[in-house]
Symmetry: C2
Subunit: 347 residues, 2 copies
């Protein structure tokens, strides 16, 4: 995801104080998001996205006791917990996803903890998804895009504010609300995942409403296909992805067929009831094309019934075992098993 110089950015209103932007700071990424993503999936050998959704009440017993009982203290605890999850999963999974809400609820201190944890994940070599479901139009959408995927204007230059590789976004506002994200992501070698068919029960209230004989989520998928099509990498996959829940396998298959070349981020495995068989349609024959997210099933695996017997107080060991069990589960029931038969493992 390194940037090389030589291409002027097309953000005319980012010129501040009338200064000319230094074109050597303009970014055209060397590595396309999807190419880097699926290279990491191949290298690690599974398509697991570890969701980090820290709630204080879910932290391991005693964890919070080491911190002051105030907002900065809780925020630091969340940061340290996320960092410890990253230490545990850093070589076992290719991707982590942060649920911004659980940090924002602790105000600026929480946001700082999120920032530091995302940086740690990236330093550790993980691909980082910010699950913020941001959405707006025009220059506001561009500000969100630059926040998480691009750079902010500082003096006469642009500097990245966040160390993340992809952002989740909500499509309700149409192309005006998506194009700025696509443009910034394309310039910076980053990606996005657009909500399409989500994993919750009431998703059907709007997403399944029938327009011209097809549910709304298919119309959204048509737009996603159009947004994604100009931005494919050598892997055949686009930097524009989609969020498609694991809990509706028929829709998952339907959308996989409708959206070739669109990476899927699949929530709903585990806690929400989705099984490995349910997510199987998300993958291509090589085991690529999808990430399967698991949040509480991994990070709070110490709370499972048999965990105390197996791991005692070592909650990170429970995290490691949960990732390994999920990787085995996906390998048995999806084409992601083929990722293990690579040249490196000699299998």
């Amino acid at each position: 995801m390194l940037a090389r110089g030589g291409s002027a950015l097309e953000w005319p209103h980012c010129k501040i104080r009338g200064a000319t932007v230094n074109p050597s700071l303009g970014g055209i990424a060397d590595v396309h998001f999807a190419d880097g993503l699926f290279e990491a999936v191949r290298r690690v050998g599974n398509p697991i996205c570890v969701g980090i959704d820290p709630r204080p009440e879910d932290l391991p017993p005693g964890f919070l006791d080491r911190y002051p009982s105030d907002r900065p203290g809780v925020a630091r605890a969340l940061g340290d917990f996320g960092g410890a999850v990253i230490d545990a999963v850093g070589s076992l999974a290719p991707v982590v996803k942060f649920q911004a809400a659980f940090y924002e609820v602790y105000g600026p201190e929480g946001f700082l903890a999120l920032h530091q944890t995302a940086q740690k994940a990236r330093d550790r070599g993980l691909i980082v998804i910010m699950d913020g479901k941001r959405n707006d139009i025009g220059s506001t959408a561009e500000a969100y895009a630059r926040a998480y995927l691009g750079r902010a204007a500082v003096g006469d230059r642009f500097e990245p504010s966040w160390s993340v590789d992809a952002l989740t976004v909500n499509p309700y506002l149409g192309t005006d609300g998506i194009a700025p994200f696509v443009r910034v992501a394309a310039e910076e070698g980053k990606g996005l995942f657009i909500l399409d068919r989500t994993s919750n029960a009431s998703a059907r209230e709007f997403q399944d409403l029938v327009v011209d004989g097809r549910p709304l989520y298919r119309h959204v998928a048509d737009r996603i296909a159009a947004w994604a099509s100009p931005h494919r990498g050598t892997s055949g996959y686009s930097l524009v992805g989609a969020v498609v829940g694991a809990t509706y396998p028929a829709e998952l298959l339907e959308l996989r067929l409708a959206l070739p070349g669109v990476p899927f981020l699949v929530p709903g495995y585990g806690a929400q009831g989705g099984t490995a068989a349910d997510v199987a349609p998300a993958f291509d024959p090589e085991g690529l094309g999808a990430l399967v997210n698991n949040s509480r099933g991994i990070t709070f695996a110490y709370g499972k019934p048999d965990a105390r017997d197996r791991f005692g107080d070592d909650w990170q060991a429970a995290v490691v075992a949960a990732v390994e069990a999920m990787a085995d589960d996906l390998a048995r029931h999806t084409t992601a098993g083929r990722l293990r038969i690579g040249p490196s493992s000699g299998g």
Copy 2:
């Protein structure tokens, strides 16, 4: 918006360390959001929402030069600019709205500036809307709701993290994605504004798709009506509001009729082309029921062609004049003019 004790909160998973929540910290608000909102509108005599969307490149000439050319410096400049806008409009408008994106783009430092500026606005007696268009499901939606409208679990108590009165939210995920916001808002005397028909050109791509003979935004409106109905105050208005753009007056009228008792937040006046006549259908006969937002038309009024002649370097004077001109414009072309014929003005 004071809280009184005596009602236990129904957030069972917010119990941390197994401690019982102190019920005296549970909040049932004394003042209903819409009642407080429209009381403020009556008191000030206009329905203006001043949008604070600070972009460094739009700051008054020389403003940035007083700050270091780094991310914390720009963030501080944005904070001080917002504070100065609040000083200028504090007694002239009832409501301010912060566009979160323009702060998030400066990372944790930007978020801190947003936090401080929101606090200043509230201390100044303004009603504060966070325009974050947040959305998610279940406990994640609840985390966003508690972040901006409620309280975060800290030790054995709950503490507010943010000083805002209402949040904008996106409805794409359905009731699962809205109910947590409604619940927290109802407990805390706060409000929300749900995107329905937005002011941008491509809003039509999804929002206007026809389902059973009616556009999607009407189906969203049906849900908004259902979410709003149980939560009306003595003003007749609900704590559940809707975002309906000024740039489509026919839809604005249609939705006003479909959503009695739902406060409207109307963007698109001014810079996006909406006129006072365009927003007139949003109001009830007393001039209540709607807030009309104006962002750059107010905060960057110093950039208008005649501003330098009229105000010289005094950009805050241009802000004051812009609010007064907008109030006059709305008074002439909408029922909001009746707010001026109150007992206090004797008119």
